[in-house]
């Protein structure tokens, strides 16, 4: 019998001389196809991998084994000599490809579809074996074009070790390395919760691998709504992926099979895993976590978009009332010093930018380090500490007095920075950068929430990039000024106008102090404010003395300085609020606004009512502006009443782990955040922009609670 098989093989292979090994690539509309054996010869009894290489034109795609909403998987039909057999296509992990409101699962660019061919043992060396395959595919962009090609080649049989295909072996090897593997190191369970199919991925390890994006691809149609966005939520022991289930899912039986694809990966070098789980309709589980808000709409925000937004946010930061007076005066002063000397000017500009950059890195670094240790902190955490608020009030007050002309310190704050002063005054420019970062902290601007929210859900390196973009945006306008001296010529020479400008710009700073005092009041009560004001007065007296007796005789000056120093120290000690916060005062909840809590939200939604949540903080200027001008307006209040909308306020003035967690689930790390939950819906809330307008909120109310 064996002889017979051998003779048969010899019979069909003998007449063929050893000729080209790979079939030449064929060109078809919008696609190039080629069939490539991994090795240039066959070894009896050893399987060989044959790859179908498909190179799609830009924007064109072919399909995975489950093509999603439309399309057709690529197919290969093999014609092989007796004794040979071909396995199934080993599909690489696909991508989601959106076509209008529909979503397909497939591939773009270049892919290799691998098939294992079993080779019989009894082959004679020196012969050649014909391999023939017909590939059928559907290649689509907006429209679809079916295509096919038949490939044939002869593979010589040899007992020598086979050589790898010189051109494609590496790519084939890479494809094989990236093929989905069985899930390891994680437990997966799946259940139905409401209309969602929930996949719960729990880590077997103590340290949960950091994943920032998960996608599920079912092997079969009918389990999920292919086009619905998939939402990943971080849980205590891992991740949860919520996928809208298909209308027909209840009639499904058997286990759910498919692929889980993770970015950056499920484990070292493993991005895609094969999963197979029974689907439970666990209603008990459902009630337990039914009302958790879903993840960020910014999870989809790409890195470039986030960097762009951060940069823009940085530029806008310059215009905030707490930043503009300080930074513009500082920069004007070094611009003035370096007028007519472009090289020095550029160096000053760079030193300033470096100062901003480094101090942003420090702030971000601290934030990331604390979060890595599990602290529930978000952006703005700096202002959740009363001593920081008091210190900032003191700083702004001193700066304002300086601008008002009460005292002169060299040309600027150089004496404060005296020890840090280098031989030249570039350090002063760098310190101005630090100062700029410091004074910018209280100001949350539009765009920044989104960019920073994105940043903190990303690996540290990405987070640092986003903060860097913010810093560059902030120093951008000044760098432009320093590198484009033509602009400087438009600035008039200093003179009396500069003095007047300084004095005028002092007033926004005084207002900033008032606001910081008010924040402190919300945090630590009226006593703390009184102490702060006393402290400020003492410091003002000290500075006045310095200014008054600066030019007096040696002894008089010395005495004045000693008294001034004592006054200043006393002022600082007095102003120090300590770290305890007054719980009752922070609550900014009155009238129709109820205090936010996960329970309050859950029970309002369980009643089927629409809910508007205002995530706010006393130290957040944007929040206060929105609140006074928009949210508390009569028109809106009337509409809220009319539509029976529950209004909840989450006050983040002081640290609050629950609020921080809720913000994180919304993909944000700072306030303001306005979340609108539609009446009767179990889904994720709509998030409103950070700068509210009455029209926008009215529209949101109409959407969430349509008129009955």
């Amino acid at each position: 019998m064996r002889w017979f098989v051998l003779c048969f093989i010899l019979l069909i292979t003998a007449p063929v001389s050893i000729s080209p090994v790979a079939a030449a690539p064929v060109q078809r509309p919008h696609i190039e196809a080629e069939l490539i054996p991994e090795k240039t010869s066959l070894h009896p009894g050893e399987p060989v991998i044959v790859a179908l290489r498909l190179q799609m034109e830009k924007r064109w795609h072919t399909y995975w084994k489950n093509p999603g909403d439309s399309g057709l998987p690529t197919r290969i039909t093999w014609t092989l000599p007796q004794g040979f057999s071909a396995g199934p296509i080993q599909w690489p992990a696909p991508r989601r490809i959106n076509v209008g409101p529909l979503t397909n699962f497939g591939y773009e660019g270049e892919i290799f579809l691998l098939t294992d061919i079993q080779v019989p043992a009894g082959l004679a060396a020196g012969t050649a074996v014909p391999i023939t395959a017909k590939a059928d595919w559907l290649v689509c962009e907006e429209i679809c074009i079916p295509g096919d090609a038949t490939f044939s080649f002869m593979l010589p049989v040899s007992n020598e070790p086979a050589a790898a295909d010189p051109k494609w072996a590496k790519a084939i090897e890479r494809t094989r390395g990236q093929l989905p593997r069985p899930l390891e190191g994680w437990n997966l369970d799946a259940y139905l919760r409401g209309d969602d199919l929930v996949l719960r991925l729990s880590s077997g390890q103590a340290r949960v691998v950091r994943i920032h994006n998960l996608t599920f691809f079912p092997d079969q149609d009918g389990w999920i709504e292919n086009a619905s966005p998939q939402r990943m939520i971080r849980t205590a022991g891992g991740y949860e992926l919520r996928v809208a289930s298909a209308a027909a899912i209840r009639s499904k039986s058997g286990r759910l099979t498919g692929l889980i694809v993770a970015e950056p990966g499920l484990a070292q070098g493993v991005a895609a895993a094969v999963v197979e789980v029974p689907v439970e309709s666990a209603s008990a589980l459902a009630d337990e976590i039914l009302e958790q808000p879903a993840l960020s709409p910014f999870a989809d925000l790409g890195l470039l978009a986030a960097l762009g937004l951060a940069f823009l946010g940085g530029v806008i930061l310059n215009l905030m009332p707490c930043v503009f007076p300080v930074v513009s005066i500082k920069v004007l002063s070094f611009v003035e010093q370096a007028r007519g000397n472009p090289a020095r000017l550029r160096a000053h500009g760079l030193a300033f930018a470096a100062g901003v950059l480094v101090s942003f890195w420090v702030v971000a670094g601290i934030l990331l380090a604390l979060r890595a240790q599990g602290a529930a902190l978000g952006w703005g955490y700096q202002l959740q500490s009363p001593p920081v608020v008091a210190a900032l009030a003191l700083l702004f007050f001193v700066l304002a007095l300086n601008l008002s002309g009460l005292f002169q310190v060299g040309t600027s704050l150089q004496s404060l920075a005296g020890k840090l002063r280098l031989r030249n005054d570039y350090a002063d420019s760098a310190l101005s950068g630090l100062l700029a970062t410091l004074v910018a902290t209280p100001c949350t601007v539009p765009f920044m929430g989104a960019a920073l929210g994105f940043a903190l859900t990303q690996p540290a390196i990405v987070a640092m990039l986003v903060f860097s973009a913010l810093a560059l945006g902030m120093s951008g306008p000044y760098l432009l000024l320093c590198f484009w001296p033509a602009l400087i010529r438009r600035i008039p020479r200093p003179g009396r106008w500069m003095e007047t400008l300084k004095q005028v710009l002092a007033f926004p700073l005084y207002l900033t102090v008032v606001w910081l005092a008010w924040v402190l009041g919300r945090q630590a009560g009226v006593d703390a404010v009184a102490r702060l004001l006393t402290g400020l007065t003492l410091v003002a007296a000290a500075l006045w003395m310095i200014g008054r007796w600066r030019a007096s005789t040696e002894t008089g000056k010395r005495a004045a300085m000693i008294v001034a120093l004592m006054l200043a120290v006393a002022g600082c000690v007095f102003a120090w609020p300590g770290n305890k916060t007054a719980e009752a005062v922070a609550e900014e909840v009155s009238g129709p606004w109820k205090r936010w809590s996960p329970d309050a939200l859950a029970s309002a939604r369980a009643e089927g009512r629409a809910v508007f949540v205002d995530f706010t903080a006393a130290w957040c200027v944007t929040c206060q502006v929105n609140k006074r001008l928009v949210l508390e307006s009569d028109a809106l209040q009337a509409r809220f009443e009319e539509r029976n909308v529950v209004r909840l306020r989450a006050d983040w003035t002081n640290q609050d782990a629950q609020i921080t967690a809720a913000l994180r689930d919304l993909g944000r790390i700072g306030v303001p955040v306005y979340a609108v939950y539609a009446a009767g819906s179990k889904g994720a809330p709509t998030l409103l922009p950070e700068l509210l307008t009455q029209q926008r909120v009215l529209r949101a109310i109409d959407e969430a609670a349509p008129p009955s």
Binding site: L72, G100, L102, N104, S251, G680, S681
Partner: protein
């Protein structure tokens, strides 16, 4: 108590609304629609209550639709079942902004050329009805019973392919659903994966 009633009403309303927006499944009520056909006549689904109705999503430029028309498969189905009193509605949800859009006059010409004879052929240029039914592909087939309940949703047959040769060996699931329903039996395969080109919706 009152509150509870209101709340549960609100919840069920919301469920109904969201169900109407998402795809539909067998056993559910077929959403009502009213569309103008290529002869200018208004076609309402509820006008055909009491009869079996087949909805066929169509796009003449799609190779999968061409497979079933150039082979004569679809026309044969239309003829066989309209003779038995079944209402056959062709629906085209292609956006007027897409190159595949064919206006009523051109649609008439295409139907004539293909000798297609549905009961009526309607256009759904804003894609509202298509999205309401969750129509994903052309063709995508729906069978509705005389009470207005969906009894079949899915592909035309069980062999997703582009090749006309496969028609002979495939099981036609629309024919099976209609035959079973017309003889009073439950539908054996009430849903299957639709296959074809994506519906060219307006974005």
């Amino acid at each position: 108590m009152n509150k509870l009633v209101v709340a549960s009403l609100a919840v069920s309303m919301a469920v109904l609304v969201s169900a109407a927006q998402a795809a539909v499944a067998p056993g559910q009520a077929a959403p009502e629609f009213s569309l103008v056909d290529i002869n200018g006549k208004v076609q309402k689904l509820s006008d055909y209550r009491g009869k079996y109705v087949v909805l066929e999503w169509f796009n003449s430029e799609c190779p999968f639709v061409q497979k079933h028309y150039e082979s004569g498969n679809m026309q044969a189905l239309q003829a066989r079942y309209t003779q038995k009193g079944v209402v056959w509605l062709g629906i085209n949800s292609t956006s007027p902004r897409h190159s595949n859009y064919r206006d009523p006059a051109r649609s008439q010409a295409i139907l004539k050329e293909w000798k297609s004879a549905p009961t009526a052929f309607v256009l759904d240029p804003d894609g509202k009805v298509g999205k309401q039914y969750g129509a994903r592909t052309t063709p995508h087939m729906y069978v509705i019973d005389p009470k207005g309940t969906l009894v079949y949703v899915g592909g035309i047959d069980d062999k997703p392919s582009i090749s006309q040769r496969d028609i002979a060996t495939a099981k036609n699931l629309v024919a099976a659903a209609l035959d079973e329903s017309l003889s009073g039996k439950p539908v054996g395969t009430p849903s299957a994966m639709p296959y074809g080109c994506s519906v060219k919706y307006d974005n």
